[in-house]
């Protein structure tokens, strides 16, 4: 018998009965807002942007969520998902009580447990891991602010292992690429000064469909003022539709275009010579390097005509320094992603737009003291060296390496906490490894609000209440103007769910580490922190968002001399550090994997405004807006496969993996050699009543992974799919 058989939660619990629909007869419904309205400040957690707003209830029932006008993340306007946030609370499929894996009559299943039982179980297993292997052998996988309590508990225990799939599966390459060039990263929210840009260049970044609120707002604000938009995308994205120049690039050849743009800027003398003289190292080497990358050469790779490459480069230079070559966000594409991010950073430096109005600004947050806690135990081992030592330039945990480091008897990690991240649908090609890790690990805890697939591997499932039912850490993210925001519970926790802080505190207490959570209610800690900066929890309950004045300049001062946090103290076009570690010091072009045959199309994927990854598909409000994804194909490709609009097909990748049935969308808005899917669909868990079986999962089709040799990112865009029409009877 397997140590951990994958258990579908529905096999254990009967589905909760749906609440009966309240019929009011033919009487007129009262106008909204005429009842007793109660408003509570919230910080949205439907995505990680964390906009601040207000939850309204009317006569004790959930009514609506709106943005807080004092909040620069939202300027009082929530996005589609934020406005649909109440669905996270009302979703009838939520996790409802703690559960523990048991074996009865040779069969594994989950049994409902009390919180005490769950805590005892976890503490006993953690202590056994400590005794047998050491206290540093637990790791946290995390996405979202609530991970911080579990990180605190594990740090206190002696385990520093920590990873977020948002690094190696998403934004890691740009963090590293920009840091190698400018000595610091782009951060989140991204430090693009788009509201003041006169030219914005998007490389595969589909702003608008990717609805990071203030980013979309500042982008649209630039367009309203007439900024030039240049969009590079194999698909006619929403952004492409608003562009002066749409460059429908051959997938995977972006680096060739970036190098050719450098060629034009340098050879036509269009770069910012004063800025480069003052701040930049390595122009000579770059100049020599890019001579070979002419627009004529780039045309042979990208399919973008040389005159378009020249014209767009000139547009960028004309608007510079108020030009943003956007860093993108999910940039783990082809394995040369750090280098591509470096190329974007180098272009930014040539345009003189780093640190300049309309380019990249310095964001600022509030200098908020941390709550005083005991000194953590010194780490026994360097876990990063142990599990990802071959990526010394990676500043953060590489999720798939942590998984590798949890497989086998001699594996470093022996226990996992998985907080708010559905690993199998987040990390490509990882299903088998998750199964192997589940056989090796001594403890597997999942903390989540919903019964996502990852719960099937758990020993213990801990149901967290949603952001609408709990306090979260103070939002203190960098912005154009600093501010703090606090998320207050608008509702009592439903079912037997509990706030993350309460869960972590109780585990810590079981382990004798209660002094790391030295209060009864987390609000005491928040109040202490707020009082250090002249506010209080009471004040925040009234206002939701508190603004603070900036203390540092947004932009470089004219003729200011600066030190950058790089080896040379300058912006590094040529990176000696990369050379020292055996990587190319200047970005080079590697052709992408080619289509195996005419019947295989590039698999591209992206996001939709209605959903946050796979985490909102089951949200009743957002599900209604977009219940399934479609596979976009060009009419020529549809003709080749004999499929028509609205028909269901399965996608089969180059390694024979097939998707669930997905509807075809025939559209001119895509290159004939590509398929496009919105990410996050294709759940196969019957306990997700709405999401189950809807659409295709792009992640499952990504089996060829192009690993970034610099930071360990999982490049996901080297995959190809063919279309298998569903039988009429299916």
């Amino acid at each position: 018998m397997k140590r951990r058989e994958f258990i579908q939660l529905s096999a254990t619990l009967s589905a909760g009965a749906m609440a009966p629909v309240a019929l009011t007869g033919c009487a007129e419904r009262p106008l909204p807002g005429t009842g007793e309205v109660v408003r509570t400040p919230t910080v949205c957690n439907v995505c990680f942007w964390r906009c601040a707003g207000t939850v309204s209830t009317e006569n004790g029932r959930p009514w609506k969520i709106e943005g807080n006008p004092d909040d620069l993340h939202s300027t009082g306007r929530f996005c589609t998902r934020g406005d649909g946030g109440l669905g996270m609370y009302t979703d009838p499929d939520r996790l409802k009580q703690p559960m523990i894996r048991v074996t009865e009559n040779g069969q594994q299943r989950f049994r409902p447990a009390t919180w005490d039982e769950a805590f005892d179980y976890i503490a006993a297993k953690m202590n056994r891991i400590k005794d047998e292997h050491g206290e540093d052998r637990l790791c946290l996988f995390s996405h979202g602010p609530g991970g911080s309590y579990f990180r605190r508990m594990l740090t206190a225990f002696g385990s520093r292992g920590y990873t977020q799939p948002s690094f190696a599966q998403c934004r890691g390459p740009r963090d590293v690429g920009f840091a190698l060039t400018f000595g610091e990263g782009v951060g989140s929210p991204d430090r693009t000064d788009m509201e003041n840009s006169r030219c914005i260049v998007l490389i595969g970044s589909h702003l608008g469909e990717n609805l990071h609120n203030s980013q979309v707002q500042t982008w649209i604000s630039a367009l309203r003022k007439g900024a030039t938009l240049i969009t590079v995308d194999p698909r006619f994205s929403v952004a492409a539709g608003k562009s002066k120049h749409w460059l429908p690039i051959k997938p995977g050849t972006d680096m060739a275009l970036l190098l050719a743009w450098m060629h034009v800027l340098i050879n036509e003398g269009l770069y910012d010579a004063d800025y480069v003289d003052r701040y930049v190292n390595g122009l000579d080497k770059l100049t020599a390097h890019v001579q070979q990358f002419t627009p004529e050469w780039a045309f042979t790779q990208t399919g973008i005509r040389p005159e378009v490459i020249r014209e767009t480069a000139r547009e960028m230079a004309k608007a510079a320094p108020a030009t943003v070559v956007h860093p993108g966000r999910h940039v783990t594409w082809y394995g040369d992603d750090t280098q591509r991010s470096r190329a974007i950073a180098i272009l930014t430096a040539l345009l003189g737009s780093w640190g300049r109005e309309g380019g990249y600004l310095a964001m600022e947050n509030v200098n908020l003291p941390r709550y005083p806690l005991p000194d953590p135990p010194a780490p026994k081992n360097n876990w990063m060296q142990a599990v990802q030592g071959e990526y010394p330039l990676a500043p953060a945990g590489i999720a798939q390496k942590v998984i590798d480091g949890s497989i086998g008897d001699d594996a470093f990690f022996k226990g996992w906490f998985v907080y708010g991240t559905n690993l199998g649908y987040t990390i490509p090609g990882v299903t088998e490894k998750l199964q192997q890790a589940a056989q090796s690990l001594d403890l597997f805890v999942v903390v989540d609000t919903m019964p996502y697939a990852i719960t099937g591997y758990a020993d213990v499932i801990l149901p967290e209440c949603t952001y609408l039912e709990r306090l979260d850490p103070i939002r203190n993210s960098p912005e154009r103007e600093p501010s703090l925001a606090v998320n207050f519970p608008a509702f009592e926790p439903k079912y037997d769910s509990k706030p993350g802080w309460w869960i972590a505190k109780h585990i810590a207490e079981r382990l004798g580490l209660g002094d790391w959570f030295p209060w009864k209610d987390y609000g005491e800690e928040l109040d202490w922190q707020l009082r250090q900066v002249g506010s209080s929890l009471d004040e925040m309950r009234r206002i939701g968002v508190k603004k603070f004045p900036r203390t540092t300049p947004k932009y470089f001062a004219p003729n200011e001399n600066r030190q950058f946090n790089t080896g040379s103290g300058k912006i590094e076009l040529h990176s000696d550090l990369l050379a020292d570690y055996g990587h190319d010091p200047l970005p080079v072009y590697t052709p992408p994997p080619t289509r195996p045959d005419e019947k295989h199309l590039h698999l591209n994927y992206g996001r939709a405004a209605a959903h946050t990854f796979g985490r909102t598909i089951n949200n009743p409000t957002l599900f209604e807006l977009m219940p399934e994804n479609t596979a976009w194909v060009h009419p020529v490709a549809a003709g080749d496969f004999g499929v028509s609009n609205g028909e269901y097909v399965r996608l089969k990748n180059q390694d024979g993996v097939e998707s669930l049935p997905v509807r075809i969308r025939v559209t001119q808005r895509i290159r004939p050699d590509s398929v496009y899917l919105v990410h996050g669909f294709g759940h196969k868990e019957s306990q997700l009543g709405l999401a189950n079986g809807r659409g295709a999962d792009d992640q499952g089709l990504i089996t060829r992974i192009l690993v970034d040799p610099i930071m360990g990112g999982t490049g996901m865009r080297g995959n190809f799919v063919t279309l298998i029409p569903e039988e009429a009877s299916a």
Partner: protein, 179 residues
């Protein structure tokens, strides 16, 4: 009659559907029903394409055929404005208004009466914009009084190319799209 109008800039709309969600939550519209919706219209051939997103709803026509068609006077104008409302107590659910509306903007509630976009008159009364307008993250939607030449909606229509849907019906629709 005071004319309220909605003016939506299709050049800035991203088709995100936030207006749909904001309307549903503000007005407590039941699951499966919508008072507004987003249309995506793409024209041209790859790679020479144009996509227009339009947030659509009841046009609150100055000459509303739905109102003329209603046999029970359940459909009425709100306080001498062009805002067309339905009184559920008078509505028999006969569907004449649904047939008469060129925009398919009316829906039947589970209880049997007809419902539709109200331009959020309960918010307008308080000096607020309709929920869809005030939630729109791109600020591409505007609302105001057309009779006031200084209102944002009047200025936008005076300065920008625009269209209304199915103008040829003579209904004088009051939702305008900047193109």
């Amino acid at each position: 009659m005071i004319r309220y109008a909605m003016v939506i800039d299709t050049k800035l709309c991203i088709g995100c559907g936030d207006c749909v969600v904001a309307c549903k939550t503000e007005n407590k519209v039941p699951a499966g029903l919508n008072r507004d919706w987003v249309v995506e219209a793409t024209t041209g051939t790859y790679p020479n394409l144009k996509t227009e997103f339009r947030s659509e709803r009841c046009n609150h026509c100055a000459k509303p055929t739905c109102l003329y068609a209603c046999p029970t006077a359940a459909t009425y104008r709100w306080e001498d404005t062009n805002i067309v409302l339905v009184d559920p107590n008078k509505c028999t659910g006969c569907g004449a208004c649904i047939a008469a509306c060129p925009y398919d903007a009316r829906l039947i509630m589970n209880e049997g009466y007809v419902s539709k976009c109200t331009f959020c008159h309960h918010r307008v009364e308080q000096g607020l914009d309709p929920a869809c307008v005030s939630s729109c993250p791109t600020r591409c939607m505007h609302f105001g009084v057309l009779d006031d030449p200084n209102s944002t909606v009047s200025k936008l229509l005076a300065s920008r190319e625009h269209k209304a849907l199915l103008d040829e019906t003579g209904n004088e629709p009051q939702v305008y799209f900047l193109t």
